[in-house]
């Protein structure tokens, strides 16, 4: 049985969908729109080569990785760029570990540290850890229609229904034809805009439309944005479950 998984460890925040639909617009309810998005980006396993480009003012740092994910809860990314070669991120459920080859040791990221930017990027560890739980945490309403990059979109508003959420509200622009969230705004409880994400490129893989290039910018960090590019995306390939273990990190 297929499960809806986080698209990739770094793109969870960009592409995640959420909530249970309650309101109708343009013939589709929020629920239905999310289900169509789900169907588009669901997979049992995924493998891809990722590139993380972190822009800060005039400088840009590029990090490359090979990533594998299984189900909603397991993901492993190994960095391949020379500076970070061998550094690995392992996500199991809501836990995150980083393995450092230089010390051959692992560090667990927990608590409020999860709100920090990963590798100096605009994506927090918590963003990366987000999974299908989002559906249980937000109520979704269709608040209208708009266009993003010339494409007609449903505008969804996601309001938190529980306290334990990173963003109190989210506004999502979902492509009406391809059912991909082209843009997302994430707000704090005060209404302050915290992050903005945009999908820059969508690729058709089989009968699905898959976002392969996205950008997220932390609105609290001036002049900062992070682009994530996925290449050689392989869906539903055989992956051994044993690779998602602490024991395997040091190998």
């Amino acid at each position: 049985m297929k499960t809806r998984t986080p698209r990739a460890i770094f793109t969870a925040a960009l592409l995640c969908t959420a909530g249970a639909g309650t309101c109708c617009a343009a013939g589709l309810s929020g629920d239905e729109i999310l289900k169509r998005m789900d169907a588009n980006t669901s997979y049992r396993t995924i493998e891809y080569d990722g590139t993380l480009a972190i822009y800060s003012g005039d400088t840009v740092r590029t990090k490359e990785m090979k990533a594998t994910a299984m189900g909603t809860s397991k993901a492993l990314a190994e960095f391949t760029n020379p500076e970070d070669k061998g550094t690995k991120f392992l996500k199991i459920d809501k836990n995150l570990w980083i393995y450092f080859p230089s010390e051959q040791d692992t560090v667990k990221i927990s608590g409020h540290m999860l709100k920090e930017g990963m590798m100096g990027s605009d994506v927090s560890y918590q963003d990366a850890l987000e999974s299908d739980d989002l559906f249980k945490k937000y109520a979704v309403t269709v608040s209208g229609e708009d266009t993003v990059d010339g494409r007609p979109c449903y505008v969804l508003t996601l309001d938190a229904t529980v306290k334990d959420v990173q963003y109190e509200t989210r506004k999502m622009w979902v492509d009406e034809e391809r059912f991909v969230a082209l843009k997302q705004e994430m707000h704090a409880k005060s209404g302050k805009l915290l992050k903005v994400s945009r999908v820059l490129e969508v690729q058709q893989i089989g009968d699905r439309f898959f976002p392969i290039r996205a950008e997220i910018s932390d609105q609290l960090k001036q002049g900062s944005r992070t682009q994530f590019i996925m290449a050689d995306v392989r869906l539903d390939v055989p992956v051994s479950e044993t690779m998602f273990s602490l024991r395997n990190l040091g190998r």
Partner: protein, 404 residues
Amino acid sequence: MRNIWRNRRRSLLAMLSVALASLLCLVLQGLLGGFQESLVKNFTKNETGHIRVTTKDFADRAELLPVDAMIHHPDQIESAIRTSPAIADKVRIMTERISFGVLLENKGLNKTAVALAGDPKTEESLLYLQRSILPGGHYIDGPSQTIIGAGLAEDLKLSVGDALKVVSEASDGSLQLKKFRIVGIFRTGVTTLDGKIFQVPLGDAKTFLRTEGGSQSIIIMLDDYHEAARVAALISALLEDPTLAVTPWTEIGDYARLIQIETKIFNALDLIVMFLGAFIITNIMTMVVLERRKEIGILKSMGFARGEVLVLFLWEGVFLGIWGSLIGGGLGFLLNVILHFRGVDFSSYFTSLEFPVDNIIYWTVDAPVAAGIVILGCVISGVVSIIPSLRAARMNAVDAIKSI
């Protein structure tokens, strides 16, 4: 004098009011002085030095503690400063330092902290952390050793002998981990130091952060920190490097500016307190003028000029002010001397402060400031006596006599 003691209770009340205002001003100035000295001392020795040499790129982003904006040949800069006759004599301590934000981990517990990396020997005369090491530990005497704040140790459940896992972004943007052995835990009483800081050797930090010998800053402490701006200009002229920023502590961040603004605000408050204290003289002198209308009339009919009557009453007000200020100033000075040696423990109030300030504040004793407050008290007493004195001086002799 006879007039002043006619109504002793009233005159004593006026003096007491001025005395209290003077005492309050002086004690507040002593507290402010002590608080500021603590702030400046901690701010400069822990963070900026009296003068800081960095790259301009670092100076622009200093609050982020960037590790990718290094001075590539810090030894050459130090050598140039040490061999300059105009500057070398004024420099007490000069050392390289790197401060960087890190993530610490121990058994699944995380905490953000700031690493202070410097030459352990030199930092003994700068950070003084060796003085605050708790029993069972010692100061850094080798590579890969660290001393950490007691607050950090408690939060991460770490003890002497444990390994401290430090994660940080290196100068090339990579994420790095290094394990340091904890050889000591310090408790300075400064909340921000104990809860956020750990010290490591400079060499380890350079390797860990992949700086290739570069340093983030050169910290310079002067014999007299009031000379910081002038000496910074001299160093800047000496180095003639447009990529470098030579900055006196007074120009680093909002913190230094805040300290200077705070002084101005307190001085304005002093003036207000003195005015309020002396204002009672206006009331008392107004009553005195009303009570002595007949006398004023007689004096005027005897040929006293307006000016003479004015001076008579003005002097009365000033006299009350002089004695009040002298008594208040004297008591305030004495209190400041006592508090200078004993200090007051503010630890319960400072716990949540992010400023690097000592928990015990020792009042400053400043004779010129005390003299200034006494003079201020006298002057303000004179000023507030002007209106009732003018009223007396302008009285018509016949009307004054008739009014009784």
